[in-house]
Amino acid sequence: MAEQRVQWFKFASPPNFYDLAGRLAPWFGGLAAILFVVGLYIGFILAPPDYQQGNSYRIMFIHVPTAWMSMFLYVLMAVYAAIGLIWRVKTAEVMAKAIAPTGAMFAFLCLWSGALWGKPTWGTYWVWDARLTSQLILLFLYLGYMALHAAIEDRQRAANASAILALAGVVNVPIIYFSVVWWNTLHQGASITVTSAPTMETVMFVALLVMTFACWMYAIAVVLWRARLELLERERRAAWVLERTGEKA
């Protein structure tokens, strides 16, 4: 069992991962900074005001990337959790745990920016619209995952148990989404649906794209960074950790 594991996931061995992540993270971080600057420049300087919404639509450049990121990161987290659970790959377990806080942060930012966008466009910060509601529940799923992780002292058991939770959640996300969409269409009138501008101008689209990439790079950098720390703590008795921290101390 153990030997197979080492062969299959040679590159995922903790010391290799630790070194590689240490080398890559700064590059992703730098790239993220550059892309954020470029994206904001396009979004705020080059892109003209919207004829309907005025300038408030510029919230889109943070709102939509964070929305996408929060959903994508959840799936990614579940995938890593599954790999960790089935093949007992420590680095995958660590990655799953490291993704959760960043994913939760993006979910929160999506809610926050959406709420602030809602006030000028809909006249209220919050309606119980399907998309809004399911995003809120996504945030709760992240929080539940993190709470379970924190509640179990033994790290191995915590990783396994929260992996189950992540998988149960990922099965449920589409179900939740559709049930909520469906729930919402029942009552007529009162709710307002999210309507995007009919045809997005190219500049806006480019800005959105660049900002999305920026968020991606940021997420990768931060997650790798956190995963390294997590790995150090988990493996703190291992020889490779002693080698690497001995130099620093």
Binding site: P49, S56, M105, L116, W225, R226
Partner: protein, 61 residues
């Protein structure tokens, strides 16, 4: 410039969104930095303890 900052009357919303996003990312990075320091301290202490005991007997009595 002022006009740009005013965002056509939507300044609080627009800058509120971006400000909090920036804040969240900065806070996340600061927390990570603090945690790295804590981990390093802990590992250093562990290394010191291992050195002292020489792995001879368990600390338990």
């Amino acid at each position: 410039m002022i006009e740009f900052l005013a965002m056509g009357g939507h300044a609080p919303y627009v800058w509120g969104s971006y400000g909090v996003a920036l804040l969240a990312m900065v806070v996340e990075m600061v927390l990570l930095r603090q945690r790295r320091k804590a981990v390093n301290r802990r590992l250093a202490r562990l290394a010191r303890l291992n050195g002292e005991e020489g792995g001879a007997t368990s600390p338990d009595v």
